[in-house]
Amino acid sequence: MKEQRQVNWLNFIAPIALLVILLVGAEWYIVTNDIPRWMIASPSAIIKELISSFSSDIFPNFAITLGEILTGYLIAVPLGVLIAILLTQFYTFGKAFAPYTIAVISTPLVILVPLLTIWLGLGFRVKVIAVVLQSFTIVMMNCTTGFNNIDPLKMELMKTINASRWQKLKYVILPSSLPNIFNGMRMSAISASTAAIATEFYSSTEGLGAMILHSSAYLNIERMFASIVMVAVTGITLYILPSIIEKLVIRWKI
């Protein structure tokens, strides 16, 4: 018991300690060795920038990027689940589109961004679509794994009660695959943020990606680092979100 408590405390302290050591070390090294300002920013300068420009520039751009990603994400997840259902439950559909799903999963759909921009113009819409295209594939892939690996015994149970296709989905297939769905959500969060940043690099005046490009053009290193930090925050938030929802939804012991 005492051991466990010690380990938990260590779990918490150790990475923070490491982070602090790295930051302090970097700060000291940069300042004492007089590293040129255009190469790297010292941690203290980054933090200063973060705080000073937070409400004026950093937060608004963060909110925009986060908004793009969340909107796209919220569309992509049900879409991925739906398509996975169609692929696994309907023989014709599944057989007909199987090789195309592989193509769609293994190719980054961001390559459609230039095309989409020409057809739909710049702006929020295009970015959301890019995020949707990139993330629904991963959700779909994980859901397919889940839907194809149902305990056969439970399907036998469904046969004994004459369950219809929809009842099978509702009572066995979907609940049984919830861990896969949430895992798909986690994995696609990564693709989603990457797609959003890539699209912003391509064509945008707002959002974190745009901010990175602009600050690099103007050699505002502190702002660039600050933006990168915010991108990291975005990434982690999106990754953790499904886990939180999972804890709330799956209240039974697996």
Partner: protein, 260 residues
């Protein structure tokens, strides 16, 4: 009526996996060609598939080929280096608990951070060559490999802890002889995901305009409104992505033969 057909060709059932997709392909192609011709859709909105194929074959050597190979190079090198890097990292982390405790959050950061975003920074340090891009691809992919491998190693170790203790083998001996082979499915899951993310990173930066490669051609041809070439390049990208993925899956099947 389709049912009548199906009953007659029941013997051909096992070729369904090939026939159905082919039918879909034929339908899409003919419909596409048909609609473009009938509705007189301008080439600047949507080109006909025949035009796309024409562009692909005529222009490949001159304008596309070098870029195609650059993309391939960045992707393959980044990906191949990422695999041993990720696995080694995962091995170290799983065997040395202190390291694991200290670095877990950083591994999380490693995986969830869209490393695309630091590319401008890295380019400032390392210039405009292929090196920064390969670095980004490698770090992204190795993150995935590492994450899944760690999970795999720890799962195997937890399950068989007593067996390991009874074997009395040294830490690394036990690792190579037992943990690693048993965790291969997880490792390969990581490799597969790493492959997908590597392709994403590679092409993401190209689309954004950071250098050469087939993604940059897509951007270029799009701005020039040469749509047949855009579609041709998109097709080539799909080819690259799918081939890499299929090769990875193929190797996975060969190595983890017992799972299949």
């Amino acid at each position: 009526m389709i049912n009548v057909f199906k009953r007659h060709f029941n013997r051909l059932r096992k070729y369904d996996s090939v026939i159905y997709p082919l039918i879909v392909l034929v339908i899409i192609f003919t419909l596409w060609e048909f609609l473009v011709k009938i509705l007189n859709i301008p080439e600047t909105t949507l080109p006909a598939p025949s035009k796309v194929l024409e562009a692909l074959f005529t222009k490949f050597d001159t304008e596309i080929k070098p870029h195609f190979f650059i993309t391939l190079k960045v992707l393959v090198i980044g990906f191949l280096v990422a695999i041993p890097v990720g696995i080694t990292f995962a091995a170290l982390l799983s065997q040395y608990t202190l390291l694991n405790i200290m670095l877990s959050p950083f591994v999380l950061l490693w995986v969830t951070m869209p490393l695309l975003a630091v590319l401008p920074l890295i380019m400032m340090w390392l210039g405009y060559g292929l090196a920064p891009r390969i670095l980004v691809v490698c770090v992204t992919a190795s993150g995935m490999v590492a994450l899944n491998s760690i999970a795999g190693f720890r799962k195997v170790e937890m399950e068989k802890m007593e067996l390991m203790a009874s074997m009395g083998a040294g830490k690394w001996q036990a690792f190579f002889k037992y943990i690693f082979p048993n965790a291969l499915p997880s490792v390969f899951a990581g490799i597969r995901l790493g492959c997908i993310n590597a392709t994403l990173s590679t092409l993401g930066v190209e689309i954004a305009g950071f250098g050469s490669g087939i993604g940059s051609r897509i951007t270029l041809f799009a701005t020039l409104i040469s749509f047949p070439l855009v579609f041709a390049c998109i097709f080539l990208t799909v080819l690259i992505g799918v081939t890499l993925f299929m090769v990875t899956t193929f190797i996975e099947r060969k190595v983890i033969y017992w799972k299949y």
